[in-house]
Symmetry: C2
Subunit: 210 residues, 2 copies
């Protein structure tokens, strides 16, 4: 018998599907804190106990929903960087797309980031993997820019990607903490800090400044 289409497996899939749809709808409408697990279970047509078999913690529901969107947006953006863009513009192409997602719902975004960045166990492992994955892809962008003729010294790709990610994370956090007024301001500040960071990666004597 085909294992993947046994009655059990089918039902499991359907349930997962129903749960994540219910969670998505309720979180969007009522916010994370404003949604109870009982509501989600009821809307998904299952018991609370079952909900917690599929998602051991409430926050896992948000991770599941939000990560899907984030991964889609991030990987689309990373894969669609126009060839002709400079290193910084290429990075901003990605960050702008991600910021657009975060702009959809600040409460959800904040809750997600908070638990994601400081999670433990599986969440922490996932976070580290994703972070270093992106740092690596940023590093690759540096190599590409250098190959294309930007006057960048031979520094560790990792170190370059690391700087970019740190600046991205900080701008994002300040924005969601309302220390940066809105998305445009945040992106502008991010651009300035990226420019300054790239300055430190240029070949000696190639600085654009003075």
């Amino acid at each position: 018998m085909e294992k993947a289409s046994s009655l059990r497996e089918q039902k499991k899939l359907a349930k997962l599907e129903a749960i994540q749809r219910a969670a998505r709808e309720l979180f969007r409408r009522q916010g994370y804190a404003g949604t109870t697990t009982r509501e989600i279970a009821e809307r998904a047509g299952i018991g609370v106990g079952t909900l917690f078999v599929y998602f051991p913690e409430k926050i896992d529901l948000l991770f599941y929903v939000f990560s899907q969107d984030l991964e889609r947006v991030a990987s689309e953006a990373l894969d669609s960087i126009p060839e002709e863009l400079s290193l910084v513009d290429g990075l901003l192409h990605v960050f702008a797309a991600i910021f657009e997602l975060y702009d959809e719902d600040h409460e959800l975004s904040r809750t997600f980031l908070k638990e994601y960045q400081f999670g433990t166990g599986k969440v922490r492992d996932a976070f580290n993997e994703v972070t270093f994955g992106i740092v690596g892809r940023f590093g690759a962008l540096v190599r590409r820019a250098r190959a294309r003729g930007e006057p960048l010294r031979e520094i560790e790709d990792f170190q370059a990607g690391y700087q970019f990610f740190a600046l991205y994370a900080f701008a994002l956090q300040l924005w969601l903490s309302r220390a940066l007024a809105d998305r445009e301001t945040a992106l502008l500040q991010l651009r300035m800090s990226l420019d300054l960071a790239v300055e430190g990666m240029k070949e000696s004597g190639e600085s654009a400044i003075r």
Copy 2:
């Protein structure tokens, strides 16, 4: 009648004192999640209701306790930077002291940072104020280094402090997420990223590299 020493005021102070001592001891011994508000109230010799008059949310107890330590450590470190240190070494003097504090209890540190960085209301305001305050002091360090003869261009102090703080926050987060093995590794990575950032702030042609 002296307002500050009325019976009421005295009792209030004593209670605040008792609560924060109880919270400190229990958090250290059992961790944040492992300590209940009932326990804290009992140990402080008051009712739960009273506890929540003084500290409207459990997390406020941790803020109160942790912030005291953090402010003490940070301001001592900022005020004791040896004159002869380079810009990066001066920054690391401060970061090392702060990292030492965070190293005392990773669970508490993570809980604190998580809620602090992504808080709302008063906590957010406090966070923003402290962050920009430190960014400002870092900016001042740049000016001092320039005055002392380091070949740094005239960039906005704010922008410089911003880069440093972003790199500090990122190293801290990776460390507490176990992506950087231990305190030494974290400080080393932080040093490398600060060096690279400072590189971008140097006067053209003064790069130490190549």
